[in-house]
């Protein structure tokens, strides 16, 4: 190990954040850059901190962990995000993975496992915690993947007839990112045309009327 793994801890509970920091600092190959309290803080600072791994809580004020994950990855796609939470429902795991998280660890697993998880995602592999493997099965390919919050937003923008460029401008992201989202949306919905997207949004009550509510 030449350079230590740079880790940022995002959790609004000081006791938990401090505890994790203390645990991680006991390893030589991990360097805790800082602990942040909200999703907003990490979204704003992610591109300057340039962390290798972000340990992210799910329930946080302002911006939740899932949205923060998506927003960070739009700018820093190389960051590995590890969700660290108390929620053990499989739905959270599939949501976390579909929003781009690399791993999912429950806060009450034996503390060694947090280190194992960090090492695993650093190798570029997914990590789902062992503590509750039974219930924490990865999402099965058969069931249709849900849109992420960001994808849903992009879909709405596209359904209103906006171009990739306009969407990128409105959401303050690159055109390439919009294109990626668009591709993912079309794949998830199994729809190939933009008109089809609009119709789908209308039929499912997502886009109401002719946009008069906007």
């Amino acid at each position: 190990m030449n350079t230590p793994i740079k880790v940022v801890i995002v959790d609004d509970h000081p006791m938990v954040a401090e505890g994790i920091q203390a645990i991680l600092e006991s390893y030589d190959d991990i360097e805790v850059l800082c602990t942040l309290k909200t999703g907003r803080e990490i979204v704003d600072q992610a591109h300057t901190l340039l962390a290798d791994v972000i340990l992210m809580d799910l329930n946080m004020p302002e911006i939740g962990g899932l949205t923060a994950t998506e927003l960070i990855l739009e700018r820093c796609p190389d960051t590995r995000i590890l969700i660290l939470t108390m929620h053990d429902s499989p739905e959270y795991i599939s949501s976390a993975l579909s929003h781009g998280a690399m791993g999912y660890v429950l806060k009450d697993v034996p503390t060694d496992e947090i280190k194992t998880a960090i090492d695993t995602v650093m190798r570029g592999e997914r990590y789902l915690c062992t503590g509750a493997k039974g219930s924490l099965a990865p999402p099965d390919g058969a069931s249709r993947e849900q849109l992420t919050g960001r994808e849903q937003t992009v879909l709405l923008q596209l359904a209103q007839g906006k171009s990739n460029k306009e969407v990128a401008l409105a959401l303050d992201i690159s055109v390439r990112t919009v294109e990626t989202h668009r591709k993912n949306i079309k794949r998830k919905l199994g729809i190939s045309s933009t008109a089809g997207l609009t119709r789908y949004a209308m039929e499912h009550g997502v886009l109401q009327g002719t946009g008069a509510r906007l």
Partner: protein, 491 residues
């Protein structure tokens, strides 16, 4: 056994009926209070009016009868006087035994017939008929002691009146025109020189008939008055009854609305409290417990790893273990109170989780399908539909004996619909009618969906049950603005 039960039931009904008669409810009392005096007053008025109008009419009719009789009598007297004046030139100069003059007068009187039944008669004081032009069989025979069908002496009375001078007599007599007996009044005048009783009579059955008609008329009028009073009373009673009913219905509707509001408040309060406690447990206690655990873990790590025998370390390990148990317990309680998935990820994942738990618990073949959109429903709709799904699955587990269950949740142009289907035994109709105890869950569903202005459709037969809960478009969140996306999506 069955029969005895039926008898018991009918006995119960009788008792209930009796009790409702003996001890009227407040509303019934009010109704009685309003209507009883009315009915009594109307009845009194009716009797009084009937009595008065009858008495008045009686007096009128009697006066009329009297008047008509007087007129008839006056007429008779005139006829007889006129007749006497007509033959007075003979009688006045004739001797008492002038047979020729007598015959002349008899001829004149016999010729004086009038109307259909009018004629003059003459009897001598011995009772022998001398003139009877319409009933000639009477002539020449002695009629002393003749009485009418009622036993009233006729000819004897004529003779008495004649001896006294003149007078009226009423009796029954056969009508010459029809041969039927009728009431007659006669005026008799005595010719004392010849010892003759001459007279004429008219039948007064027409007077009697018109009096009877007048009486019948009065009776009919009284009856009609009674009828009118009855109709008016009935109308008034109906008015009281209907307005009472209307008032009652309105009150009940208000009470229902209030009850509904109360139900909603109870639901709201319960949900709010559950949500608050769940969040408190999840975000507060369990985070603190985790923090404590981390602290203990670190402490444990700093102790020498090798010395496992040391009792302090063993105690610490046990403590950490128990703490983990406590954390899991808190998490379970929190999730039972209100699944975080519902608030954080939306209804779709929450219902999915619910069905997966259900499937794992019951082993039934359970499928869940939904659309790819997330978290599009407002808080009330989310909670209501989640609780409906929960209730429906509980019912299936307890009662349906199903082998397949499917849950479907999707948004569409008019709102969002949750469908829960099972292939079980169906819901007995007694339960769906919402009266039974078993219908409580269904009623809760109905009430929850009512609060959202949605619709709940339950279609059930022997091969399965489909529960369909629909919420209108107003409960779907409007599309997010790009600027607020970041904030909203976090929730």
């Amino acid at each position: 056994m069955h029969f005895a039960f039926q008898r018991y039931i009918s006995y119960r009904f009788e008792m209930l009926w009796l009790r409702s008669i003996m001890r009227p409810s407040y509303a019934q009392k009010l109704f009685l209070l309003a209507t009883l005096p009315l009915v009594v007053a109307v009845m009194a008025i009716a009797v009084l009016v009937g009595h008065q109008s009858r008495a008045f009419a009686d007096r009128e009719i009697q006066a009329l009868e009297q008047q008509m009789l007087e007129a008839k009598k006056e007429e008779l007297r005139n006829y007889v006087t006129q007749a006497r004046n007509g033959f007075y030139f003979i009688y006045g100069v004739a001797a008492p035994d002038d047979e020729f003059a007598k015959q002349k007068v008899a001829q004149i009187l016999a010729a004086m017939i009038y109307g259909s039944d009018g004629f003059f008669f003459v009897y001598d004081y011995n009772g022998t008929n001398l003139v009877s032009p319409r009933q000639t069989e009477y002539i020449g025979r002695n009629w002393t002691g003749l009485t009418d069908s009622q036993g009233t002496p006729v000819v004897d009375r004529f003779i008495d009146l004649a001896r006294e001078g003149a007078g009226f007599h009423e009796f029954m007599w056969e009508k010459p025109s029809t041969g039927k007996e009728a009431q007659m009044v006669a005026y008799v005048l005595g010719l004392q020189d010849w010892q003759w009783a001459i007279g004429t009579g008219v039948f007064i059955d027409d007077v009697r008939a018109s009096v009877a008609a007048a009486r019948a008329d009065v009776e009919a009028r009284v009856k009609q008055t009674f009828y009118y009073i009855g109709v008016i009373t009935f109308a008034a009673l109906m008015l009281v009854f209907i307005s009472g009913m209307a008032l009652n219905i309105r009150e009940r509707r208000l009470a229902d609305a209030k009850l509904k509001q109360l139900t909603q408040r109870v639901f709201d309060a319960q949900e709010e409290e559950r949500g608050r406690v769940a969040r408190e447990l999840h975000d507060g206690i369990s985070q603190i417990l985790v923090g404590v655990r981390y602290a203990l873990d670190i402490a444990r790590r700093r102790l020498p790893q090798s010395d496992k025998e040391q009792p302090g370390i063993e105690m610490l390990d046990r403590g950490i273990e128990h703490l983990s148990g406590a954390i899991q317990e808190v998490r379970r309680i929190s999730r039972d109170l209100r699944p975080g998935v519902l608030d954080d990820l939306g209804l779709g994942p929450a219902v999915k989780s619910l069905t997966e738990d259900f499937s794992a618990r019951t082993g039934l073949e359970t499928s869940f399908s939904t659309v790819v959109f997330r978290n599009r429903l407002d808080q009330d709709a989310k909670i209501a539909l989640y609780r409906i799904a929960q209730e429906a699955l509980t019912n299936i587990e307890r009662h349906a004996q199903a082998s397949k269950v499917s849950v479907d949740l999707r948004g569409h142009r008019t709102g969002a619909t949750l469908r829960i289907w099972d292939n079980g035994a169906g819901i007995p109709s007694a339960v769906t009618s919402s009266s039974g105890k078993g219908g409580l869950g269904l009623r809760n569903m109905q009430e929850r969906i009512d609060q959202l202005d949605g619709t709940l459709t339950i279609s059930s037969n022997r091969s399965g049950t489909l529960i369909e809960a629909k919420v209108p478009l107003t409960h779907l969140l409007p599309p997010e603005d790009a600027s607020e996306t970041t904030k909203k999506a976090a929730e």
